[in-house]
């Protein structure tokens, strides 16, 4: 049986205790909301896209260490990046969580950085939803921003 240290890597607890990009943004920033009906976790993603770049992102809501740290790492990873790159990262992250959305195999050549630490979540299938919640919410926010 995988142990707690497989799941709760130090970097995860660090993002949980000191979440990056925490807060909210006023319109014209777009806002999307994700719920995990299983455990009641809630994530809010506030997003400003300017000239095809994720100009600013803030994370709100409350949830467990896995959902909160995943959101924190995600915000740090996509801020300042082109929208296309953010979408590719969503695809790659979900693939790492063994969620098959079809489409092409993601390009895994670039280093994942802190996000690598979440790889252990796959060994705890009930927690995959926690890790993926913010990513689905970001995808929705990107869709809204593109409208």
């Amino acid at each position: 049986m995988p142990g707690l240290e497989d799941l709760y890597r130090e970097i995860i607890l660090d993002h949980y205790k000191s979440p990056r990009n925490r807060g909210s943004l006023e319109p014209p920033a777009v806002r999307s909301e994700g719920h995990n009906p299983l455990c009641g976790d809630e994530i809010e993603v506030f997003l400003v896209v300017k000239d095809g770049i994720v100009d600013d992102i803030k994370i709100g809501g409350q949830g467990c260490s896995i959902s909160q740290s995943s959101a924190s790492m995600m915000s740090a990873a996509v801020k300042g990046k082109p929208v296309e790159q953010a979408r590719a990262l969503i695809h790659r992250f979900k693939h790492m969580m063994s969620i098959d959305e079809g489409g092409e195999e993601p390009d895994t050549s670039a280093p994942l950085g802190d996000l690598e630490a979440l790889q252990g979540v796959v060994k705890f299938p009930v927690r995959i939803k926690c890790a993926v919640l913010s990513w689905n919410t970001l995808a929705e926010a990107l869709d809204i921003a593109a409208e």
Partner: protein, 410 residues
């Protein structure tokens, strides 16, 4: 009969299982209960030696299966002191039983301008069906609020019930453990001219049930929480109400005649039992009722009272201000379902650490999101005890919780 928890435990094979070499500490019975050999054997025996369709074929095996299937109904009726056996209806679960009431009684009786009264401590199963019908019919839903110690605030009850057609409430909260004053609430409903619907899902498994003493109009509960199998629940209703209600699901078994121009309904209970019923599950439920009856529901309640006192004291003694236990501190007013927050560690993370020690609890909103919002959180840890839990389970919970605290020191 005296109550011996070790003897009870020996009846439940799963409790002897080792998971990753460690014993199972099952504290999730408010979610669903474990099963004794008596239930497992009754269902297996029936499948091996007596399985056949019920209420339709004429051969001996089918007649005997029908006797057993209807015999289980009679056992349930006696268990809850129903005046008439045919007032006991098989459903898929308690959720379907509540939906049946709302769709059948509600559709026939509720329209714009009417009101139904619910409480802030209801399970989604006693909220959403009403909201679904209210969206169609335009009646209003009024809510009985809570006191700060997790009891129903009845100070305004007569105003809330004034002009209402139904008062539907839980007998025991699945989050707070609060045992509501069922008799008093039914009487208040009747005084206002409303019918009284009791969601007894958390009560029937844990304390004596007497639908006549309660003077309820409908009572719902599920088998899987009372050591019986999943897949079957019960709706008890007053004959006069059930007779006047339109059928819920249409199909085989629920008709007396079908012509191209239309159909006529069967008598109770078949009127509300369309299609092949959960036959094997009914046999299992009958065995569960026999099992609990032999132990005695007063004994079950007394044991759980002791477990509640012990768990409340142990958690408070060991964790002091680090733990916030929701609901009443008086074990006489509550069942052995204990929800709590521990420091600011998220319930999902706590349950993960507890799981490493095979301590099985529920972490989440417990299908009671309106209540969770009132408690000001989006999740709690819930440890729920049953007739097979022991003081050492309380110790295991506390030890694992300590470990979670150490791991997540923020």
């Amino acid at each position: 009969m005296s109550f011996d928890v070790q003897k009870v435990r020996a009846d439940f094979p799963v409790l002897a299982e080792l998971i990753n070499g460690k014993p199972l500490v099952y504290l999730d019975s408010a979610n669903t209960s474990q099963k004794p050999n008596a239930v497992i054997d009754a269902m297996t025996q029936f499948m091996q030696h007596g399985y056949a369709p019920t209420n339709r074929s004429a051969y001996q095996l089918a007649a005997e299966a029908t006797d057993k299937f209807e015999g289980a109904r009679a056992k349930v009726a006696a268990f809850i002191n129903a005046p008439k056996v045919h007032e006991v209806l098989y459903t898929k679960n308690a959720t379907e039983a509540l939906n049946l009431i709302v769709r059948s009684w509600g559709s026939a009786n509720l329209s714009a301008g009417d009101a139904v009264v619910l409480t802030h401590m209801e399970h989604h199963a006693n909220i959403v069906p009403w909201q679904m019908l209210a969206a169609e019919r335009g009646f209003t839903i009024r809510w009985v609020p809570l006191t700060s110690d997790g009891l129903l605030d009845l100070s305004n009850l007569s105003t809330l019930l004034d002009g209402a057609k139904a008062f539907s409430f839980t007998a025991m909260s699945n989050v707070l453990g609060t045992i509501n004053p069922i008799k008093e609430l039914c009487a208040a409903a009747h005084k206002a001219g409303a019918i009284a619907i009791v969601d007894a899902c958390q009560a029937v498994p844990h304390m004596p049930t007497d639908v006549q003493a309660w003077d309820a109009d409908f009572v719902t509960f599920s088998s899987h929480k009372m050591v019986g199998p999943s897949g079957i629940g019960i709706l008890w209703g007053r004959e006069s109400l059930l007779d006047a209600m339109p059928p819920f699901l249409g199909g085989g078994n629920m008709i007396s005649d079908v012509k191209l121009e239309g159909f006529t309904c069967a008598e109770l209970p078949a009127k509300f039992e369309a299609g092949t019923q959960p036959i094997i599950e009914a046999i299992g439920l009958g065995a569960a009722v026999d099992y609990l009856t032999a132990i005695g529901m007063d004994n079950v309640r007394a044991h759980e009272y002791d477990m509640t006192v012990l768990a409340l004291n142990s958690l408070n003694d060991r964790f002091g201000s680090d733990i916030t236990i929701h609901g009443s501190t008086d074990a006489a007013l509550r069942g052995a379902t204990i929800s709590f927050a521990y420091r600011d560690v998220h319930p999902h993370d706590i349950s993960q650490v507890l799981d490493q020690n095979n301590v099985c609890v529920r972490a989440g909103h417990h299908c009671a999101k309106p209540l969770m919002r009132i408690l000001g959180s989006n999740a709690t840890v819930r440890a729920s005890f049953y007739l097979y839990n022991t003081p050492s389970d309380v110790t295991a919970l506390c030890d694992a919780l300590s470990e979670a605290g150490d791991f997540f020191t923020l």
